[in-house]
Symmetry: C2
Subunit: 226 residues, 2 copies
């Protein structure tokens, strides 16, 4: 059981609701697989969870998909960063985060209907409602996409929340401590089709839990970032 | 040379400025290493780049650090997500992103002065100026921290920017296409020491390129997220 929680077990969870929520919130995951000679390779990629299955996809020529689909042991991680934890001591600085680590062996999805549903799922995972707005995949596109499925039966979550945990003897030090929350937000949309109204999927992004209502103006951000 | 760019080479780069900027912007990385029996394990963790070295750290009992420090081949990935790329066709949906994949073997840092500098570096990586504000590491804390160093001599970057790339025959379809920029922002600080003024490191976060001037109000975000 590789998902035995080894360090800081109070931060670990096998709770399915926690695991599935993290997988659904994270926009990308990181997939570890054995590369040439067996040394590990890690690649960031899109994913979608449908029930207890995690799907990955891409071009049939992708080395990652060819290897991961060949039945080797893989490890998939999804991470959401929630805050910078600033303690009084450097030693206790940390992050608030939620992550899932899943182990298993993926299988290639060959059934065209399951493939089509998975492709819709990737778009839905990015923005709810998007899969119905876009042009549906053609038979040729389904063939030109490799879809892999990993059953999530060996997954665990780790979560850190809350304030910094300083040593008792440091609490009275005149050093500022606290948490700086961080999270993904959305910026001003760049339309390729300015004559068309903003679709419901994009308008809904403001209410998407992944972006927590955090809307920023990309143009002014660039100025501020100076 | 494992960092040969295999797919979509036009998105790849061995440019050091690109690589170092991505490593510096990403707040966490994902480390792949061989677990028990050799199957890959991937763990999210903090990192800091100092020159051409990438440092990792944690408790000496951490399985990840024990294994990664034992001289095995590892793969470290840092990913920054920049946008949701919504094409007219489902098939061409994508992300704008920047990622670095680095291969190598890490060594444990035993020199106390290099360890101390690395620990300062982790805090500086989180927020510029923080390492000087916080209580410095004691000799005991330095001993209670394992620091690993990976030389970045086999690293490459992948970057996707710009609009969706639809097939020519889809461009006239009445389907909205465009990019929804996404990025990390910072929320309302939660102070543990409300009687102390906000330190320069936290005040400076607004101007940190990682947050691009994106400031959101955590309280209202939660309401909006409903």
């Amino acid at each position: 059981m590789r998902t035995r929680l080894r360090r800081l077990p109070e931060r670990g969870s096998h709770d399915w609701d926690v695991i599935s929520a993290i997988l659904d919130e994270a926009l990308v995951c990181h997939v570890g697989f054995p590369g040439d000679g067996g040394a590990p390779v890690v690649i960031p990629t899109a994913h979608v969870r449908v029930g207890s299955m995690l799907y990955l996809h891409g071009a049939p020529a992708s080395r990652m998909l060819r290897t991961v689909g060949s039945g080797v042991d893989v490890c998939v991680v999804a991470t959401v960063l929630d805050g910078l934890v600033l303690a009084r001591s450097l030693f206790h600085h940390s992050f608030n985060y939620r992550s899932v680590v899943a182990f298993g062996r993926a299988v290639e999805v060959v059934d065209l209907e399951e493939k089509r549903r998975a492709l819709m799922g990737f778009a839905e995972h990015v923005l709810r409602g998007r899969s119905a707005e876009a042009r549906q995949p053609s038979a040729g596109e389904l063939k030109a996409t490799r879809v892999l499925a990993l059953r999530l039966d060996e997954a665990s979550a780790k979560v850190r929340t809350g304030p910094p945990l300083d040593d008792a003897e440091d609490v009275a030090l005149p050093i500022w401590a606290g948490v700086v929350p961080v999270g993904l937000g959305i910026g001003t949309v760049v339309a390729e089709t300015p004559s068309l109204p903003l679709p419901a999927s994009v308008r809904g992004a403001e209410c998407d839990v992944r972006f927590g209502g955090r809307v920023f103006d990309a143009a002014s951000s660039v100025e501020n970032a100076g």
